[in-house]
Subunit: 339 residues, 2 copies
């Protein structure tokens, strides 16, 4: 398989990705909380990709893509452009397969993610994402380095890898009625949404994005990809000027609705996940839970799978965000666990 003939994203492709990941990726835990269930009157299955290798779901797609292009990348090595989680995923994949690796990361990427990516052996360069679109910066980087670019989301193999997370949830229970997943570039929800709908055609797939961006919600409503200016917000894993050209078509097919969460709602969800579920979750990783806890989706009586997409937040940044969260609570932003 070469990059010139991308496969179609189907349940079979996702199952084949799962076979390739067996023994390489972690089968991450799905955890439950009676407090959460009671609060939303539903049966909630929290799929914890925070425990995936590299601390997020990204490894599933990166490894799947690179393993499918081994002949090409063995000579050239790999590179990518990413705010952090995909960078770590590509770096771990490269180390695993013995490949050269370089990564272009935004200058405002969290220090913990920069450090982690370097620790996996990748060479790291930085750029200003507020002055240059990611795609353009990435293309120039690949050109200059001569390395094979591993896409962060905009490819069927990346989405198929990400979709394997939902197969693991399905393996532990009967079909889910609702899937809630954060939307960044759209790879995660394309893969998971395709798998969920193939397994249970009546299931509802809800994407969650930052209210400060809302680019996917607006694009889906417009029936075409719109472009926005980037404004800084908390969920650094969900910061794009436009949906992926390929993922957008998939999302048009499998995403039933997109709901929005504020930074305050994300911080409150992070506190809930820590206090009540003992989970370390980064802001974009908490977006889907935030939508649930803030009542953005009515799931009463349903079986709901929620993807916690990553946990890459250092102790110190977490502490800063929780201090802000305490201030938000004083301003009157409700804490879900105090309802």
């Amino acid at each position: 398989m070469t990059s010139s003939t991308p496969p179609e994203l189907t349940l079979d492709l996702i199952r084949s990705a799962a076979a390739g990941l067996a023994g390489v990726a972690h089968h991450t835990p799905t955890v439950r909380s009676r407090t959460l269930d009671a609060q939303v009157s539903a049966e909630v299955l929290v799929k914890c990709e925070s425990f995936q290798r590299g601390g997020s779901f990204k490894f599933r797609g990166a490894y799947t893509y690179v393993a499918a292009h081994l002949d090409e990348v063995r000579q050239r090595g790999v590179c990518t452009v990413s705010s952090g989680n995909h960078a770590q995923a590509v770096a771990i994949t490269a180390r695993n397969l013995g490949l050269r690796c370089a990564v272009l990361m935004p200058h405002d990427a969290p220090a913990a993610k920069l450090e982690a990516t370097r620790s996996y052996g990748a060479q790291v360069e930085q750029y200003d994402r507020f002055s240059m679109p990611q795609a353009q910066a990435g293309a120039a980087f690949a050109e200059r380095t001569g390395l094979t670019m591993v896409p962060a989301y905009n490819h069927p193999l990346i989405a198929a890898g990400a979709g394997t997370a939902v197969l693991e949830v399905a393996g532990q229970s009967s079909a889910v009625d609702v899937l809630l997943a954060p939307i960044g570039g759209g790879g995660l929800i394309s893969g998971c949404g395709t798998a969920v709908k193939a397994l249970s055609p009546t299931a509802t797939v809800i994407g969650v994005e930052a209210a400060a961006s809302a680019v996917t919600q607006r694009s889906l409503r417009a029936g075409q990809r719109v472009e926005i200016e980037l404004t800084p917000h908390l969920a650094d894993g969900q910061m794009l000027t436009t949906p992926g050209s390929w993922t957008f078509g998939i999302m048009q097919r499998v995403v039933d609705d997109v709901v929005l969460v504020t930074d305050d709602e994300i911080r409150a969800a992070m506190r809930f996940l820590f206090d009540r579920m003992k989970l370390v979750v980064e802001p974009s990783g908490a977006a889907a839970c935030a939508a649930l806890l803030a009542g953005k989706v009515d799931v009463a009586g349903q079986r709901v799978a929620v993807i916690v997409s990553g946990g890459n937040i250092g102790v110190d940044r977490f502490g800063d965000l929780m201090t802000e969260e305490a201030s938000a609570a004083v301003r009157g932003v409700p804490r879900p666990h105090l309802r």
Copy 2:
């Protein structure tokens, strides 16, 4: 079965406890970290009882004990005395089985544990643990309330329940060479140690306690239970004046060694578990990992099970401890993940 004829602690009793807990307690995840494995040159299986109901391993024992005494407690209700985790476990058990419940907690128990215990429907009273031994305070409390006391650790059914955690680790892998578990009253290590040695007679069982206490280490070396004055330290789940009268005999049989960890080492382990493994762990829950990370036990080349016994620490207290940890790092206490 009545409290007057306690059963013998055997692998069969632990298996029978596991059968009773099926569908009631969580089968908690066992997680791995390549960083941790590399650091100690071993295969480390981290059993996360932080994800157990009530946030610690305690539910396993409390439910096992109460379910075995249903005839008696259905009329009278239950009570206990505990710094927090056992209190929550008894409260959840009582709510599950529809029993009255009152709990005596030390006045310095963390606010999160007091609040959580109340939230499960238990009536909470407080006492000063530095002026009155726990056993004496508990006996007076049971006498006054007329409720049946659920022991926190000093009973075969409590230990058998706790020991079920290790059966779940064993179910996921071949036998372990080393078990590392924190020691408070001794119920956890009695149950887990008994199970591990029954499954693999050559396995080594290492207990970990706070250096500020060391009461079990000193008692085992003396061949009899010694008494100490309580001094405040970080691991509030490991604060006793003397080992349990019954658990001590079991520990003499199954515990090969006891190692000590300082508050600084516990804080550093909590940071490592958060940053690198995305786990929320309370101080006593991190003690066994702290011993591993601080190099108190040589496990090179071994398959090691480490019990993370609980995760009941609120965001705010966690933040305070991590601020102290950062100061300790400045003082020169090595951070395990920076080695």
